[in-house]
């Protein structure tokens, strides 16, 4: 009645399943990141090498939003609050950051765009948010972001009503242990 070999085989399968589920919990981090990059989910912006150049058809208003976490002693604001952008055109915009403390501080920025469905069409070529930024005491820095609106926005039906995109950044104090 008790078939030990069969019992061990079933148990081994189940231990494997449990280990796999624990692995999936960890894999959820890279998988979710990949999912967001591919689909632009949650307003995740795209990264691209080169702008295709302005195409006729539509202009989009891009608004710039800047936030600073409570424990980061920085002033951080966009140079202009909004610009009109032709689809496909390569745009260079600046944010201004100033360290108002008397010690050097390193910050790192998270970002997205709203409406979230604009994520797949908002491509960055270069951005201060790709790396951590360190400001000396009292130092002020212009932080550039170079981007374009993907012309595919003209073709996709779900993107028809996107007339305005808000690009948002939040600066946090970078965690020292993470700086390697």
């Amino acid at each position: 009645m008790i078939d030990a070999r069969r019992n061990f085989a079933t148990a081994a399968l189940l231990f494997g399943t449990a280990a796999g589920m624990a692995g999936l919990a960890y894999a959820s981090v890279p998988l979710y990141r990949l999912f967001c990059q591919v689909t632009g989910y949650g307003g995740t912006t795209q990264v691209s090498g080169q702008a295709p150049g302005a195409v006729a058809g539509r202009t989009v208003t891009v608004r710039f939003d800047a936030n600073v976490a409570r424990d980061l002693p920085w002033r951080f604001e966009p140079e202009v609050s909004a610009i009109k952008v032709a689809v496909g055109e390569n745009v260079l915009a600046y944010y201004r950051a100033r360290n108002i403390s008397d010690v050097p501080v390193t910050g790192t920025a998270t970002f997205n765009v709203t409406p979230h469905k604009a994520g797949p069409f908002f491509a960055k070529i270069e951005c201060f948010c790709f790396a951590e930024q360190t400001l000396a005491p009292g130092e002020e820095m212009n932080m550039p972001v170079s981007f374009f609106i993907d012309p595919e926005i003209l073709e996709r039906p779900e993107a028809k009503d996107i007339g305005e995109i808000t690009l948002s950044y939040t600066f946090f104090r970078a965690i020292p242990a993470n700086r390697s």
């Binding site: 019992n7 231990f15 796999g20 589920m21 919990a25």
Partner: protein, 535 residues
């Protein structure tokens, strides 16, 4: 195996005695008993905490508990203890270990030594959790342990680490126990007992065990991330390092939603056995009942974000989770209707177990209905984190799962200890508890509708009336609990000898074919299952 047959028989009769019988036990009945004792301890400790909470909430203002972190710790520990160290050990470890091998005609669990370590890991988990409560202010994180509150920024001491360790250890015990159940049920059924002829309690345990194997490791993974975030500088849940606290909520509820079915499905199984026994009819729609549990288990894995409507999910995601959650009402409805159809036309006896089973059905339907309301993302924005949610999940768990536990207790206690409880005393216990818990939890719907937030020890005067009523309900349940303890004591000291089958022809499962109390070893000779329809 190497010894002769007669020697093997001889060694069976000399099982270890004294403390070794229990500490080293590999016997499914002894381990089941230990789980039930652990659950009783957990239930009393967790219950004591809830009574302290109700004491403080009986009036507006802070009167008995002025240390607010202590209040947070009470709320957190009450939730964790009731979930992990009361309901789960009672339903799965306790009744599962005791009854599943008996029901399928197996001599014991597939891996008796692993069974032993499962129990001791669970017991160790409870000790660790209680230790956490007395360390560095205690873990005041809620049972959901959300960061950033559970991060080292807001809980710098070792309390949360100990609580995490407790859940790790208890979770490991649950996974090992679940694997043991699956292997036992799949491989060790008596000849003739096909999967489609297993008693529904065995089906319930099988589905529960699969949920545990799939969900518990995700909690373990999330807890490990939290532990390394707290102690080793990782930033899984810290935005500044590129992490996201919402990730914890996703991982936690991917475990947490199946977890609520882990707590209720074994109770489904117990209620099915009881309703069938006391209606003297096979369960109506047996296959539908079995696969409804499996369906609830499967759907339970794809609805987790209905606990997180307020985190900023976009409208399409919320629409999906609303729809998926509503779907669960279908298999649940199949179960409710099948229980009623089982009773329909049966010759019903309202003995104590049947009272608890009927109480379960009534209260679970009530809690299920508020669940359907809360499944809607729109209204949930208003009800999120109010006493409406507290009332909902106490109706399905505190009243549902716990009524299942008491039903199972009265159903099988004679089989376990060999003495029958006093029927009159059992009925008094039921009515005291039924009245008490309804008085306790029903007014909390009104408080939640009126906007009273959960986990807060103080409230405006406007909420004082129903809070007082609710606390009086807690007093009634205290009386009911004391009555229950007295009943157990009286059964052990003065109970009548229990018959092998005290329930008559309605009780058709295999555990009623062995004497009461069930001997130390049963079904060493495999029973043959007669070819008749399963119940």
């Amino acid at each position: 195996m190497a010894y002769g047959t007669s020697d093997a028989h001889g060694s069976h009769d000399h099982h270890p005695s004294g403390w070794k019988r229990w500490a080293y036990s590999t016997n499914h009945k002894d381990i089941g008993t230990m789980y039930l004792v652990l659950a009783a301890i957990g239930g009393l400790v967790g219950g004591l905490m809830s009574w302290l909470i109700r004491l403080e909430l009986s009036q507006p203002g802070l009167q008995y508990i002025t240390d607010l972190q202590f209040y947070n710790v009470l709320v957190s520990a009450h939730g964790l203890i009731m979930v992990f160290f009361f309901v789960m050990p009672a339903l799965i470890g306790g009744f599962g270990n005791w009854i599943v091998p008996l029901m399928i005609g197996a001599p014991d669990m597939a891996f008796p030594r692993m069974n032993n370590i499962s129990f001791w890991l669970t017991a160790g988990g409870l000790v660790l959790l209680l230790t956490a409560g007395f360390t560095a202010g205690g873990p005041g994180t809620g049972w959901t342990v959300y960061p950033p509150l559970s991060s080292n920024e807001y809980h710098p001491g070792p309390a949360v680490d100990l609580a995490i360790l407790s859940l790790h250890v208890g979770g490991a015990g649950s996974i090992l126990g679940a694997i043991n159940f699956i292997v036992t049920i799949i491989n060790m059924r008596a000849p003739g007992m096909t999967m489609h002829r297993m008693p529904l309690f065995v089906w319930a345990t099988l589905v529960t065990a699969f949920l545990l194997v799939l969900a518990m490791p995700v909690l373990a993974g999330g807890l490990t991330m939290l532990l390394t975030d707290r102690n080793f500088g990782t930033t899984f849940f810290k935005v500044a390092g590129g992490g996201d606290p919402i990730l914890w909520q996703h991982l936690f509820w991917f475990f947490g939603h199946p977890e609520v079915y882990i707590m209720i499905i074994p109770a489904f199984g117990i209620v099915s056995q009881i309703v069938s026994t006391f209606s003297r009819k096979p369960v109506f729609g047996y296959l539908g009942m079995a696969y409804a549990m499996a369906a609830i288990g499967v759907i339970g894995f794809v609805v987790w974000a209905h606990h997180m409507y307020s985190v900023g999910l976009d409208v399409n995601t919320r629409a999906y989770f609303v729809a998926a959650t509503m779907v669960i009402a279908v298999p649940t409805g199949i179960k409710i209707f099948s229980w009623i159809a089982t009773m329909w036309g049966g010759s019903i006896r309202f003995d104590t177990p049947m009272l608890w089973a009927c109480g379960f059905i009534f209260l679970f339907v009530l809690g299920g209905v508020t669940g359907i309301q809360l499944a809607n993302a729109g209204p949930d924005m208003a009800w999120h984190d109010t006493y409406y949610v507290v009332a909902h999940f106490h109706y399905v768990l505190s009243l549902g799962a716990v009524f299942g536990i008491f039903g199972g207790f009265y159903y099988w206690f004679g089989k376990m200890c060999g003495r029958q409880y006093s029927e009159a005393a059992g009925r008094v216990h039921f009515w005291l508890t039924f009245f008490g818990v309804n008085l306790l939890f029903f007014p909390q719907h009104f408080l939640g509708m009126a906007g009273m937030p959960r986990r807060i020890p103080d409230y405006p005067d406007a909420y004082s009336g129903w809070n007082m009523v609710s606390s009086l309900g807690a007093v009634v349940t205290i009386v009911g609990t004391l009555w229950f303890l007295w009943l157990v004591f009286r059964t052990f000291t003065a109970g009548e000898k229990a018959a092998a089958n005290p329930w008559g022809p309605g009780a058709t499962t295999l555990e009623w074919t062995v004497p009461s109390p069930a001997p130390f070893h049963t079904f060493e000779e495999t029973p043959r299952i007669a070819p008749e329809p399963a119940h």
